[in-house]
Symmetry: C2
Subunit: 250 residues, 2 copies
Amino acid sequence: MTQTLAAVPGTTPRLQVDIWSDIACPWCYVGKRRFEAALEQFPHRGQVDTVWHSFELDPAAPLTTTDGTAEILARKYGRTPAQAQEMLDSMTQTAAQDGLEYHFGAQRPTNTFQAHQLIHLAREHGLQGAMKERLLRAFFTEGAFLGDPEVLARLAAEVGLDPEEVRTALAEQTHAAAVRDDEETARSHGISGVPFFVLGGKYGVSGAQSPETLLGALNQLWSEAAPLTLIGAATSSDGCEDGSCAVPQS
Amino acid sequence: MTQTLAAVPGTTPRLQVDIWSDIACPWCYVGKRRFEAALEQFPHRGQVDTVWHSFELDPAAPLTTTDGTAEILARKYGRTPAQAQEMLDSMTQTAAQDGLEYHFGAQRPTNTFQAHQLIHLAREHGLQGAMKERLLRAFFTEGAFLGDPEVLARLAAEVGLDPEEVRTALAEQTHAAAVRDDEETARSHGISGVPFFVLGGKYGVSGAQSPETLLGALNQLWSEAAPLTLIGAATSSDGCEDGSCAVPQS
């Protein structure tokens, strides 16, 4: 909930990190691992709240296609099939260096709108981080078809969500507006590529940069942590007078 | 979602105002009106997102009681009944100056935990502001009994929520944890009285201060608006290379 480092003097500040990211985004999964590596080294990681935001790289992507990832990549960026395959091989090697196993040959390209809705649903249950991770692994490592609500319900159940609630939420598009809100905010921030990290509402990090860069940004933010500046006259703490109602001190 | 003024240069920043407040809190309703008066005069009000947070002044308050507000006040703060009545009369006059009609004699004191859960539910439907206002009016002006889930469902329906969803959410305490989270955050901020306004995560305003004070804080924040500071190397915007996946520019 709290969104910056600001806190009343003497209390513990919290630091919110907002991350815009897609599922169908190989650098987003790598960026997640690098951010986790940075957090691991950040002494105040217990004060960090991470919020995942939706960003669809291709909102018009079809739910099903007979094309593989290499074909889609070649067409999208005007490359030859061989060039596209080279890009994927290079990405697979990069991912491996960050401990991830990518199998682009087995991947089932789809539209990620439903998966994003599921990530929003999971947030309400405190399971957003687990859901995001499970979906990325399913998509990049396991070749799961994330266009099928039943597959999404199964993956959701694995992280502790009620599969029946997931089916209803997807059928009724309960969280579709939340996805669109995230994307509107991304546009208003001028974000056109992902992953994109916003740390404490102050620093922006574009792309999957190194754990060292991300750790540097976290430390920088922490060193600048400022208490809330109280505005206006101090009010009485004696009950409900002089402008505020206070909890009686026992 | 966006939580501070920070934005990529050239884009429109947003300003979040977080307000901790109770229902059973006469200064909170007055503070709401004063904040609204400040917003009315703030030229960038279209960029302001207001989020209402839960704070119970008396979490142990019984759901039903035969005592009136004056008796409870006298006992809580160690005043005579006459002194308590004087406080209430004075509060009623203050509220009237801010355009509010308080009827403490008709008030039905209760525990506000359920009402707070309802405000969280309303947020999911984009109706938080309307729900908060409706509950305050019901409590201070209409003498409604907010301890009854049926009364809450009726008030919720009036602002556009599905009363059946409200009954289920209250019965299953779906949003109880969200209320507790807000209160935990308030504690970590050192907030012991309400209303308490946090503007852009930076300025704190305690109590129902004047519209001029609140407007001053809004203007101050706006004048300090800083774009996001981009950290690390700039990345390619050409598809999925060099650390980020970008939306192709047509």
